[in-house]
């Protein structure tokens, strides 16, 4: 006998039984289309300032975690152990304004993956970048680098200099 639906005796509602196969856990691949999962997420901020090199991309330090649900964030680097697509956001504040150009970039595996905002103006005090990237769940890792040429450092602040990310879709 095969069972396809179960009717709730108390509510009279109907539902569908989902089997997990040989595993007791529901995995990302079992989720239906447009269903948000329970993938890794993190938020970290700069508890200390990063000295930014003129004319170069400098890795920004985010040394204080607010949350790291899967223990995938360490040394200002996010290395997700679950394959999938991740949304990132990073906000950077400068100690003193940048007077010519500042760029924020998401680095993947040690090199530039995507540029964020490239501001060419006087008086840049804070800017932000958002990114979407695929991670293989093993070797891929992500970091934030900033380019500027006004001898500025980042500001140590939980609300102004931070790096956050979360899985938005499974692989």
């Amino acid at each position: 006998m095969a069972i396809s639906t179960i009717t709730g005796a108390s509510t009279g509602s109907t539902g569908t039984v989902i089997t997990t196969g040989s595993s007791a856990a529901v995995t990302q691949s079992m989720l239906g289309t447009n269903v948000a999962g329970n993938g890794p997420a993190f938020s970290a901020y700069a508890g200390s300032a990063t000295t930014l090199t003129n004319g170069a991309y400098t890795k920004v330090t985010f040394d204080t975690e607010e949350f790291d649900t899967n223990n995938n964030f360490a040394s200002s680097r996010f290395t997700p152990t679950v394959a999938g697509y991740y949304q990132f956001i990073s906000n950077i504040a400068f100690a003193g304004s940048v007077t010519s150009e500042a760029v924020i970039a998401l680095y993947k595996n040690g090199s530039i993956y995507k540029y964020g905002i490239d501001m060419q103006a006087s008086g840049i005090v804070m800017f932000q970048g958002t990114f979407l990237a695929y991670a293989n769940g093993t070797t891929d890792y992500f970091e934030i680098y900033v380019y500027q040429n006004s001898s500025r450092s980042s500001v140590a602040s939980s609300s102004q200099t931070y790096f956050q990310g979360a899985m938005v879709r499974s692989a």
């Binding site: 003129n54 170069a56 991309y57 890795k59 330090t61 760029v103 090199s111 680098y145 380019y147």
Partner: protein, 57 residues
């Protein structure tokens, strides 16, 4: 003198070059090892050697 300044000293024509999104990328991984040339794909200027960079006053 920073790496950027040394490169400009060796190649003054790069003073107005776009180091943010151009063919040359300088990088610092905040690991205490300092700045380095992460990418040098300039069409005409040759990547300076360590000796050339160290020789810049």
């Amino acid at each position: 003198m920073t790496l950027y300044e040394k490169i400009i000293s060796l190649y003054p024509e790069l003073a107005t070059y776009n180091f943010a999104t151009g063919a040359i990328t300088l990088q610092n991984d905040s690991d205490g090892k300092g700045d380095y040339i992460a990418k040098w794909e300039h069409p005409t200027l040759v990547k300076p050697t360590e000796e050339q960079l160290q020789g810049v006053a």
